[in-house]
Symmetry: C2
Subunit: 351 residues, 2 copies
């Protein structure tokens, strides 16, 4: 048993964020207590509600305070679609993406696993167990666009995808490292290099170069459109997918859907150099339509807490949470439980 202490910042956010994070915290407490690890939690009120109350998305002071933690547990942010008081996308960009970029979360890690007993929308899903290593700090997400003659018939709007050798290489290297630790040892690069030539060739050349350092890892390449087809016709072909920020966003929601829905999909925004805290969050959004009703599935948040423990060196407890989740989801058919009841069951199993 380890005996240490971990110091986690908690950002519940908006909508169902606070509900699912309450359960993830419950499970974190149970999992750390079981190995005599002290857990200290500091809550940060950020998100759409906070912006409405204060006009603040993420201040320099808050960002500095967040840096002092070992990791961040994040719920979900975003206003209701009909809420016109909040400029669309503002919280996502000025808070969520600002955290990912400022804290250099270059590995956006999104495991996709079809747990036994979980229904998939696919008729014959097969055994699905892959991980998407999505680049998190560049690509089309850099905010490097502009508009000219806005609102006129001559408007031009551009978006620039920026890709650097530094950014692509560290991501690809992480993908190979993970593939090398898995039993199938296979890596697939997904891009669209027949059209996005410059970015695509940087990715492709980088994969070829890093592949030479991992002789046991096999690799292949798929255009993003072909990857779509395989994700619904043969998802078990995938082991590790490396891809850019936007393709990764698209692929991981589809991957979540085919493995039983975003209620189960966890993610880590990871700074593998540990120069800043990494952040763990469910793939789903704030779902304002079901907020406050104890209807949300906290499993994605709980699995995100497991990724957090793994990142902080508590791999054994991370595995225990995953096993508890695997057991819990296998027995769900037909049952309707509240958000808290699901959290209670999983927390009890890891205590």
């Amino acid at each position: 048993m380890t005996s240490k202490s971990i110091n986690v910042a908690v950002i519940p956010g908006d909508g169902i964020g606070p509900e699912v994070i309450a359960e993830a915290v419950k499970v974190l407490r149970a999992a750390t207590a079981a190995v005599d690890t002290e857990l200290s939690l500091t809550e940060y009120k950020l998100g759409a509600e906070h912006w409405l109350a204060t006009g603040e998305t993420l201040s320099a002071e808050t960002l500095e305070q967040l840096r002092s933690h070992d990791a961040i547990l994040f719920g979900a942010v975003g206003a209701a679609p009909g809420d016109t008081r909040i400029p669309s996308g503002l919280i996502e960009r000025e808070m969520l993406l600002k955290l990912r970029f400022s804290l250099d979360h270059y590995v956006n890690l999104r495991p996709s696993k079809l747990y036994p007993g979980v229904p998939s929308p696919l008729a014959n899903p097969g055994a699905i167990d892959f991980v998407v290593v999505r680049e998190g700090t560049e690509g089309p997400y850099v905010g490097n666009g502009g508009a000219l003659r806005t609102g006129t018939p001559h408007e031009i709007a551009t978006e620039v995808s920026v890709n650097t050798a530094h950014g692509v290489e560290r991501l690809v290297r992480d993908g190979f490292r993970r593939a090398n630790e898995r039993s199938r040892k296979h890596l697939t690069l997904v891009h669209k290099h027949n059209v996005l030539v410059h970015a695509g060739h940087l990715w492709k050349r980088t994969v070829e170069a890093v592949a030479a350092e991992y002789p046991e890892v096999t690799h292949d390449y798929l255009h993003v459109d072909a990857a779509m087809i395989f994700l619904v016709t043969d998802p078990s072909r995938f082991d590790v997918i490396v891809t850019d920020n936007l393709f990764g966003d698209i692929i991981t929601d589809l991957a979540a859907a085919v493995t039983g829905g975003i209620g189960l999909a966890a993610s880590g925004n990871i700074n593998m150099d540990h120069t800043a805290p990494s952040m763990f969050e469910p793939v789903h959004g704030s779902a304002p339509d079901i907020a406050g009703q104890q209807k949300a599935d906290p499993t994605a948040a709980i699995l995100s807490a497991a990724l957090l423990l793994q990142h902080l060196g508590l791999a054994g407890q991370a595995a225990r949470i995953e096993q508890a989740v695997e057991h819990d989801v296998a027995t769900r058919a037909g049952a309707t439980r509240t958000t808290a009841e699901i959290g209670d069951a999983i927390a009890a199993a890891v205590s």
Copy 2:
């Protein structure tokens, strides 16, 4: 019965292209003969094989000759993945995309329909019948990228998505026009405006503006990642999707997969102003692995020929082809027919 003549350029291309186009031509001949329409066909040898033989992708003269036709029927292009004699993506960009851009094919029309009897990879597909109106002449496909310090640790590669009011408005207007002619009269814009702010807002504002001219058409918006989820969990929610060039590429391959595969997915690259010939092609690629074996499904090419006839004002014959296909695919279970046998059956049904 009409009595006219149509003058079609045929580009069989590479791999399975010539095989599937032979069947589409068979069906075109039958469908036009049945209404006393003279069909004149001119074959153009273009593609990877042609490039290997001549070093030419698409010359200015060939492009001019192509302009003299009423429409173009296109098979598929692209070398085998392992063929290192051909620079990757060259034929796709310098021939296929060059045609789309030069002939101003701004509406890339891709219907998605699950025909009765066709197996879907989805367990409960429901009734799928929507059409994707993909922008075809701008967005991330403009080839407006570059690279600096290529091959060094300081490489930067960029890709610029260019979106104009002109380009977006004509596409969105086409989408609303099509939605207005359909029974459900619903349009969904798919983009990612919370991240791609400038391009996204041009698209969103344009949809709002054009919507005012179509009071009977309802419309909504989905981020591309959310659209992925609905395409596998509730594809029948879609009626008309309007989207940009890259999102359209991604969405339509997934849509093809859930409606029974790219063997059935047709497309039109349409210049709605008729200032240049439109081009009709199956969504699938050249599939070099099965080329020359009479294994390819010619249905996508045949349905593309139906779109061609519809575009040229022969809507009745287009509908007859679609009915013949619908009948043919309903009886396929268990049967193995050659490419030519499938073409023969459908041609016989429209004669």
